[in-house]
């Protein structure tokens, strides 16, 4: 066991801390209020080469490990959860490309993803296919060496701003999950358009968009992995994505905790700082403890992923636990702030609204418990 950061990691994080403090954190409130896509932040992430962390060097990335990616995503999310999720959603495109892509697909799509010139997105969710991922209604019909896509995807993170999409469609309806295929699509492909932008409780600047496929023709070379292997692509992507979502939740929890701690030391009631009251102390102690616990579940999941070992169970546990901790910590942070906490002048109410999403996306808490139960019951 070794939790020491490498000198490269320390150097990167030191630089990133400065960027987060000076660029991302000060704009987080504004972004959330206006709901405008934080293109400046995305540009900054690109300039700093952050999109290319895990992408191999031969494709223009830095070829670093997922553990480092995790540390970086944690900090970005802590400063600005919206930016953290955009960063994370991008991984849902680059990860499956790295894992399942052909040499040609990698050559074409990874360099622009690494440089940040292109953003990525992953599209599975449909009105009738949320937790029931196998129930995809979008179809891909084979026709003269092409596939023709028809259907609608909803809530797609980075939709419309992304240039490269991985889309899960059914090539064989009656086979259910086994009939799903993953396709690589570029924005601008004929028959591929964008619909509604969804208005959310929080994270208003995060694009969650409807994708519409209307006789959209793609060549067979755009199939990722293999025909009828789309469910494997989706599940593999989500497993890794859960580390990203968990770490996003953790970042929010850390931000809320730090705000609550500072406020508790500063706020005077009954002639002394409220941090001297045991009730507040216990709240803070619980918050800090759970944050640490969530952190190491996620770090360890990333560590196994880097070693090519089974990480799915830990990733699910980490995502489940971190998102629930984020909800709890942000709610308590509002409590520590009291009346002010409920006001929009302070960021803690925003954290609370943001945290809720994390218990839902990338598999709800209920789905995570199901996955974990399945895996632990297989063992003897």
């Amino acid at each position: 066991m070794d939790f020491t950061l490498s000198s490269d990691q320390r150097m990167i994080l030191e630089m990133l801390d400065e960027v987060c403090e000076k660029e991302f954190a000060p704009r987080a409130d504004e972004i959330s209020e206006t709901g405008e896509f934080p293109s400046e932040n995305v540009k900054k992430l690109a300039e700093l080469d952050l999109f290319g962390i895990t992408i191999p060097k031969e494709f223009g990335g830095l070829g670093m490990d997922y553990a480092t990616w995790t540390l970086i995503a944690e900090r970005i999310s802590k400063a600005c959860a919206t930016t953290g999720l955009i960063f994370g959603a991008n991984l849902l495109c680059s990860y499956p490309l790295e894992e399942y892509g052909t040499e040609e697909q990698k050559k074409k799509f990874l360099p622009p993803l690494a440089s940040g010139q292109s953003l990525g997105a992953f599209a599975l969710t449909e009105p009738e296919a949320g937790s029931d991922a196998g129930n995809v209604q979008t179809t891909a019909r084979k026709e003269n060496g092409h596939f023709v896509l028809n259907g609608t995807k909803i809530f797609i993170t980075n939709g419309e701003v992304a240039d490269i999409y991985i889309v899960i469609a059914s090539t064989d309806k009656k086979s259910g999950p086994r009939g799903l295929t993953a396709f690589l699509l570029e924005k601008g492909t004929e028959g591929f358009s964008f619909g509604q932008h969804f208005e959310k409780m929080g994270l208003s600047a995060l694009p969650n968009v409807e994708l519409i496929f209307n006789d959209c023709r793609v060549p067979t070379s755009s199939v990722l992995l293999k025909e009828r292997r789309g469910f494997k692509v989706a599940m593999g992507t989500f497993a890794a994505g859960r580390i990203g979502v968990g770490i996003g939740a953790l970042g929010i929890a850390e931000a809320a905790f730090e705000k609550a701690r500072a406020y508790a030391k500063e706020r005077v009631q009954f002639g002394r700082p409220i941090s001297s009251f045991q009730a507040v102390q216990h709240m803070l102690a619980d918050m800090a403890t759970k944050i640490e616990a969530a952190k190491y579940l996620l770090y360890r999941a990333a560590w196994h992923l880097d070693r090519g070992e089974a990480f799915e169970q830990l990733a699910s546990m980490g995502k489940l636990y971190a998102s629930e901790v984020a909800m709890e910590v942000t709610t308590k942070a509002v409590q520590v702030f009291g009346g002010y906490g409920y006001m929009k002048d302070y960021p803690v109410e925003r954290y609370m609204r943001e945290a809720k999403l994390f218990e839902i996306i990338e598999g709800t808490s209920e789905i995570q418990r199901g996955i974990i139960a399945n895996l632990i019951l297989k063992e003897r």
């Binding site: 000198s7 490269d8 150097m11 990167i12 630089m15 900054k44 300039e47 700093l48 952050l50 290319g52």
Partner: protein, 272 residues
Amino acid sequence: MNSQPERPTMDIVVCIKQVPDTEELPHIRVNRETNTLVRESAKGIINPFDENAIEEALRLRDAKGGRVTVISMGPPQAEEALRKALAMGADQAVLISDSSLAGSDTLATSYTLAMGIKKIGSFSLLILGKQAIDGDTAQVGPGLAEWLRIPQITYARKIEINGNKIRAERALEDAFEKVESTLPCLVTVTKEINIPRYPSLKGLLSAKKKEVLVWSADDLTLDRKRIGLEGSPTWVIKIFTPEAPPKGEVLAGEMPEVADRLIEKLREREVF
């Protein structure tokens, strides 16, 4: 426009200084009882105006080709500042560090840097920040230009290179001045000139592999009488803290009452 041949590339030298980070409070504060500076691990940073100087050099190089060399005079730990400059994209870094340079004032510093720059070789442009935020003298730039016998353009908020001509906008108190000179030339820049980049990850990782050249006084051809304390006409004979401002008054109470009292105070002092 001009008959002289275009310089093929721009070799640029940037002089930087490592300074304590005054942004990081309360790292530096004055202890009123002992009248001394309390430096709680004040982190060293690149002088902010020098970051603008580096940025400008990198932009010019990227547009015109050439090399950017960053040079600093200071204690061994100033290497950190140079490393950051390398990570931002500078091609080469030189640190002049020697115990015999201790006590250098701006004249001795500009002389030593000038000798270091001569050792680096020829250059088209020499860029500095308009001043360092610790000393605030703004004297090293013009001093360097004098030792090197080149024109100087101070307080530049915009520069443009065309062939061997430089045009700049100088920010004066209430106006700006458009000027023109020939290269090689020394320019000191203000914060308005650009927004310095952060080092990219690739920059950070490759800077680790680059070497920072460290030159001692012996590595330079220089007159020993012109360096360090010996070469410094000015001597600091006393350092003290300014008289503490008279203890202010805290206005406390209900807000409307505090507002009334503040207005009353300001009226008494003839603000209205």
